[in-house]
Amino acid sequence: MRFGLSEEQQLLRDSVRRYLADQAQLDRVRLVADGDEQEASSILDGLLNLGLAGLLVPESQGGLGLGAFEAAVVAEALGGAVAPVPFIGSYAMAPLALNRAGSPAQQEAWLPRIAAGDARLGVALTEFSGARDGTALRYAGGCLNGTALFALDAGAVDAWLLADSAGQMYLVESSAVQQRLLVSIDRTRRLAELSLDQAPAEPLPGDRADTEAVLDLGRVLLAADSIGAAQAMLDKAVAYAGERQQFGRLIGSFQAVKHLCAEMVAELEPARALVWYAAYAQDALPAESRLLACHAKAHTGEIGRFIAKTATEVHGGMGFTDMLGLHYWFKRLGANRLLLGGPEQLRSEAAQVQGWLS
């Protein structure tokens, strides 16, 4: 029995962490956040060389054939470094969607290229996960029309994976989609609004349950990303409190500061265990997987906001400026809280999953 990472999983985590520590330091994150495309693709290329693109692609299609837990291990490492790369959409949700719901032809067409790092998909599930406004996607005569908001891992993609409000998924070549980038508080990842006007679209044969599984995976990985980001903020707060002096004392020796840090860790440790278990459940415990995905994301949303605020407070004025770059983590946690559904919505879905709705 082992609740946690196997040795292979630790190696995976360590290799991603090491790469990010070497190649995605804060100054490079800043460059990407400020729009430097070259830096962005250079950081991504290095990560793909570690095999991240094929993580969830079956071995028969040239991937590593690993599962949601390994993807969560990677997401936690990426969040820890606020890595400015596409991952959750392009290299986790999209492969899972193709693998579970795609036709053999669709799988052949995309999975080997994704695994090789030769193709990348953006993912737009918001019409299914929680539509705002009057946006909608309508499929008729082999074409999709309408608007999809908050497409994940946007930018230079080869195709889009979309879902409509009924949970039907589609593939659309990027050339048929008008992409308008959205500006998010979190500059480390890219969101877009997609407009489709008679865009030729291939439905995926899978059913609504597949779309739910893809959405659940996305939610779990956003939660894992938040665990990594929150841990980084906590570590920075503890380190700062151990260096900064006020009133002739290290601020970390003040009980008030100590207790803020203790409260953060007291929330973070159980949340991490919950996220790990939820990730494991995506592969191993289908009866619990939806419920755990909702809770993992709702709960990290709540504690992530608490930790983002509290760690910033421990830094005092320094936390509020750009000098230490702390706000990149703050904003990443803020974005993760709301992408693919905020806490209240997720809890309401959790009630539904358990049959508690009237």
Binding site: M1, R2, F3, G4, L5, S6, F69, V238, A241, G242, R249, L250, G252, S253, F254, Q255, V257, K258, H259, C261, A262, E263, V265, A266, E269, P270, A271, R272, A273, L274, W276, Y277, Y280, A284, L292, H295, A298, H299, E302, E344, R347, S348, A350, A351, W356, S358
Partner: protein, 407 residues
């Protein structure tokens, strides 16, 4: 992640289940069972290795090798069936492990067998009126008079002192030594002349704690565990057992399920409470935390099994989080019932024997006892996160009230 315990353990689990299926009906339940049934059940559990499992056979135990997973399976299966895992209390949880580690052979042979059989009950004599969280400042003393220790004057917060046969106590034996080095660990028969027990009523209305007064209480010199002046170290061996036994996430999960049932059962204005979305959102917030603590518990278990180094923090936060969480669960139960949640004791219309109300207060006691939440946060920050200690302060005096009149 590998949550399977393996085939050997699954076989063991089936054994446990069949024991429960066969014998479970004999287990004491609620408050109605007589003492003999409790003792018989305890003996049966020891015989099958479900109690005193790792206590050596020569001291009356089952003599199995320590095996975290087997202990876990026993707890899981008995918990699931809601069957008692036998007697507990400070003798079994705290004294017996301490004696096994640091007691003399004679002490082990005299005290362990009757204790684990439930025939010798113990109470803990640590706290004193003035020490609270600062246990090491205790001042109850034992002085040597020929072949006896002579003990004075008082302990407090002594649970089960009235029914206990024995007390294990910390007393100051070297008043000149530094605070932590002048303490010894003594075993005191509660029928020794000079001991007086006075109950302290708790906010729940039940007696639970006591004050214990000592007036020249004499116990033989060899009633000491470990050496003179080493009592602090002896007690700390025991304290780590205490902390481990405080919080059971499976009990919390069971309680959460009872909360859901309560929300399905109770109504307000003709609508079932579970149909109130605001109450349901609150329920689901709690469910997130219940699940998180269950997962945290698995991680801690795994850390013990696999010697994972990164589970220290997961372990240190358990007391703080689990007592606060349980308190909030009970609080929500009260709110679900509304005014019915105020009823108590033998009131008409009382629900669930008043257990939500009683536990709401009991778990506030758990938050306070065994290191308040404030002390826990200090421990997490200093031991867990390595944050700097507070600078040492000079001794501070309570402000004296000005004397009446005079110069």
């Amino acid at each position: 992640m590998d949550l399977a315990y393996g085939p050997e353990y699954e076989t063991f689990r089936l054994e446990v289940r069949s024991f429960i299926a066969e014998h479970g009906h004999k287990a004491p339940r609620g408050g109605v069972t007589g003492m003999q049934a409790v003792l018989d059940w305890q003996a049966l559990l020891i015989e099958h290795g479900y109690a005193a499992r790792t206590i050596p056979r020569e001291y009356g135990g089952y003599g199995a090798e320590p095996d975290l997973l087997k202990s876990r399976i026993i707890a899981e299966e008995f918990g699931r069936a809601r069957v008692s895992t036998g007697m507990g209390g400070q003798g079994i949880w705290m004294l017996v492990p301490t004696l096994l580690e640091l007691g003399s052979e004679a002490q082990k042979r005299s005290y362990i067998p009757p204790t684990i059989r439930g025939e010798m009950l113990w109470c803990q004599g640590y706290s004193e009126p003035n020490d609270g969280s600062d246990l090491a400042s205790l001042t109850t003393r034992a002085e040597v008079d020929r072949d006896h220790w002579v003990i004075n004057p008082q302990k407090i917060w002594t649970s089960t002192a009235q029914s206990a046969d024995m007390m294990f106590a910390l007393v100051r034996t070297e008043p000149e030594a530094p605070k932590h080095q002048g303490i010894s660990y003594l075993l005191i028969p509660m029928d020794t002349p000079g001991i007086e027990v006075r109950p302290l009523v708790q906010m729940t209305g039940q007696p639970g704690f006591n004050e214990v007064f000592f007036t020249d209480v004499r116990v033989p010199l060899d009633n000491i565990v470990g050496r003179r002046g080493e009592g602090w170290r002896v007690a700390n061996a025991t304290l780590s057992y205490e902390r481990g036994s405080l919080a059971d996430p499976n009990a919390t999960r069971n309680r959460f399920e009872e909360l859901v049932d309560l929300m399905r059962a109770e109504t307000l204005g003709g609508r079932r409470v579970i149909e109130d979305p605001a109450m349901r959102d609150r329920l689901l917030r709690l469910q997130s935390r219940v699940l998180a603590m269950q997962c945290n518990d698995l991680r801690v278990l795994s850390g013990q099994l696999n010697q994972d180094p990164d589970t220290l923090l997961a372990r240190l936060i358990v007391k703080l989080q689990s007592t606060e969480l349980r308190h909030e669960l009970e609080a929500m139960g009260i709110d679900v019932m509304g005014e019915l949640g105020l009823l108590y004791d033998d009131s008409p219309r009382l629900r669930a024997q008043g257990s939500w109300q009683q536990n709401y207060m009991f778990y506030l006691g758990m938050i306070i006892g065994g290191g308040t939440s404030q002390i826990q946060k200090n421990i997490i920050a200093e031991r867990g996160l390595g944050m700097p200690r507070e600078p040492r302060a000079e001794k501070q005096q309570a402000p004296h009230k000005p004397a009446q009149g005079g110069a």
